[in-house]
Amino acid sequence: MSRTWLLLLGAAATVGFAAIVLVGIPQVMLVRIAAPPELAAYTDLEARGRAVYIANGCVYCHSQQLRDPAFTTDVELGWGGRATVPADYAYDRPHLLGTMRTGPDLINVGERLPSESWHLIHLYNPRALVPWSIMPSFPYLFEEREPGDVRPGDVVVPVQTPYAPAGRVVVATQDARALVAYLLSLRRTYPVPAADTGAARGMSRMP
């Protein structure tokens, strides 16, 4: 080849074609998918928790998607009642579908583990509840205070010895409480939305 214009135009054409197929056309199709009535938009606290989730990179070990039972055992594993569909993510910007399961999937964690104090203890030190866990501890999302220093409205985390700091109590920060509020909001327990079934029929199934 010796023509610069052929190279530049050809290269632009290939990437342009791919952008139309994988970005342009889906955008036109997916923009019409409405949020299901059972799915609430994030509250301010949950949205803040979602930001904490992003800031600390939870997505690098936890997915938020269940694949079709015809294809995998995601549902049989107890992570949720059905495969997730596009409408389940109508409020998500950015998406947090994830690509790793170093830890379990979280799209229904609010249903599976509905206790706020369980999550707070687990975030403070996962091994206090799950001895074999390799998840990091997040002590910086908590304050360690003198027992006399607890104010009304503080959420004291019931951490057991030996994981509790000696002679001090663990108090959740607003970030920790927001993160747990977000985790508890993760539940896709309603049936596949009607708006999604037609389009989704071909969407989450193997051909």
Partner: protein, 484 residues
């Protein structure tokens, strides 16, 4: 023909090369130096992230030390710092050489390196401080950091385009196609990926459209292009087939751009999108085999040269890794394979075969060839080159092989509803430890190389008459009379 006449074209050829080398000296050295700083930083962050996966209580006191941020700083530092900056440095040297003229506006390219680095410092500092865009491979802040990369990369790209338009060579060698196309592709995919309006599953589709193309349309053409230059160059032998190189380039351009959705197999996006990407991923076998035949057939019968040329050693290793990682990628995109390997360390290992064993090895080899021509002296130490090579080879082997195997077992454990999730964690632990050892070896190898580079540009260390591994070895002749 007199002796004088015979040498004229030869002398002209050398002069063109000397002028081309001199023109790209300053920008290429700035890109290489800053790339190496990011390589060292990224290696330390990567090793720390690896340690944290089997020592979860290590350094948990502050947010900037948590796994999710350290891992992300690693990814951005090695991809946008090391691999991108070093690739641009290689391109700034290689294009003037191939089009037989000086680099145009070299100061613009140098300034581009500064701009790009400013964006990286801002982006990675914000990631560590807990502010990122939440999309894998696109974590750096789309308003405060990413524009610097577009402008900085654009400044380097403009100098290359101006050089190309002022070319003295009639024919454009295959390396030119790959390199120039990469400079056109990267800003397009980077802007699409960072566009702030994508929501829901469309955000996921665009995320992986970008992230796969960052490999396929940015690092891969840079790496394949460099290998296309250095293997024939060092061997002094033409590339095996010109027709194959054309086929390889255009099929790569067409198929690779469509690959991204194989990262979402089984996920909640339209099945036809995933199927499109699976088909394109399998069709990638065509460009990969075209490039493989060209690289490896050029090499066949000349493997002895690996002993004398560190450039060839690293680049050929990288070219072999390219063939391997691409075929592995096509295989992994098959649904029956992907249902096991998706969400496991198999993918992490695969990414490192691509960006490390392929791209990084090619970049090391390229720098071993280019830097002596920029600073006009030979590498001072053969021993440091040996240490660098064997440390990174051992390191990457210890990274990839255990983690690939463990990822397979992890996936099988996760597919079996009768097996508790705990098992899928435990079967990976040995490989996670091995990966940390690998991280230490790789970091040590990078420190050796960075030190050697520093000796080069600061003109320290012994001055050599001949390149390392080319020292004349005294030969003892037996006198013929002795046999008589």
């Amino acid at each position: 023909m007199s002796r004088q006449d015979a040498t004229i074209p030869f002398r002209g050829d050398v002069e063109i090369r000397l002028r081309a080398d001199a023109s790209s000296r300053a920008p290429a050295l700035v890109f290489f130096s800053t790339a190496l700083v990011w390589l060292l930083f990224g290696s330390i962050e990567g090793t720390l992230a690896s340690l944290k996966l089997h020592m979860p209580e290590l350094l948990t006191s502050a947010g900037w030390l948590t796994f999710g941020r350290v891992r992300t700083a690693h990814l951005n530092a090695v991809n946008y710092g090391w691999a991108s900056l070093a690739s641009i440095g290689v391109a700034l040297w290689i294009i003037p050489r191939l089009v037989h003229t000086e680099l145009r506006w070299p100061r613009v390219a140098t300034a581009g390196a500064v701009v790009w680095n400013v964006g990286l410092v801002i982006g990675i500092a914000l990631i560590l401080a807990g502010r990122n865009d939440g999309l894998e491979w696109l974590e750096m802040d789309r308003y405060l950091a990413d524009p610097f990369l577009v402008v900085g990369g654009g400044m380097a790209g403009v100098t290359l385009l101006a050089t190309l338009l002022a070319r003295q060579a009639g024919h454009l060698y295959v390396t030119v196609w790959y390199t120039i196309a990469a400079f056109l592709w990267f800003p397009v995919i980077f802007v699409i990926g960072n566009w702030p309006t994508w929501t829901g599953v469309e955000s996921a589709a665009v995320n992986w459209f970008y992230a796969h193309n960052a490999l396929g349309l940015w690092f891969t053409p840079m790496g394949v292009g460099a290998a296309y230059y250095f293997i024939p160059k060092v061997l002094g032998r033409p590339v095996y087939s010109y027709q194959l190189s054309i086929l390889g380039f255009w099929t790569l351009a067409f198929f690779y751009a469509l690959n991204g959705m194989h990262h979402l197999i089984g996920g909640p996006i339209p099945t036809w999108m995933i199927t499109t990407s699976v088909v394109a991923s399998v069709l990638m076998v065509i460009p990969v085999l075209a490039v493989a035949v060209n690289h490896h057939m050029t090499m066949v019968g000349r493997f002895g040269a690996l002993r004398y040329s560190p450039t060839l050693r690293f680049v050929v290793l990288g070219a072999i890794a390219y063939t391997a990682v691409s075929l592995q990628g096509s295989f992994t995109s098959l649904r029956e394979v992907n249902r096991v390997t998706h969400f496991t360390h198999w993918t992490v290992a695969h990414a490192h075969v691509g960006v490390y064993a392929f791209v990084t090895m090619v970049l090391f080899g390229s720098m071993y060839y280019i830097v002596p021509r920029l600073v006009r002296r030979e590498w001072p130490s053969a021993r440091l080159i040996q240490w660098h090579f064997w440390l990174v080879l051992a390191g990457i082997a210890l990274y990839i092989i255990p983690l690939t195997i463990a990822g397979g077992f992890q996936g099988l454990a996760m597919l079996d509803p009768a097996v508790p999730f705990q098992r899928s964690v435990e079967v990976t632990l040995w490989a996670l430890v091995s990966r940390s050892v690998a991280g230490v070896l790789l970091t040590a190898g990078h420190a050796v190389f960075a030190y050697h580079f520093w000796l080069m540009v600061r003109r320290r260390g012994p001055t050599r008459e001949v390149p390392p591994f080319h020292e004349p070895v005294p030969v003892v002749y037996e006198r013929p009379e002795a046999h008589a």
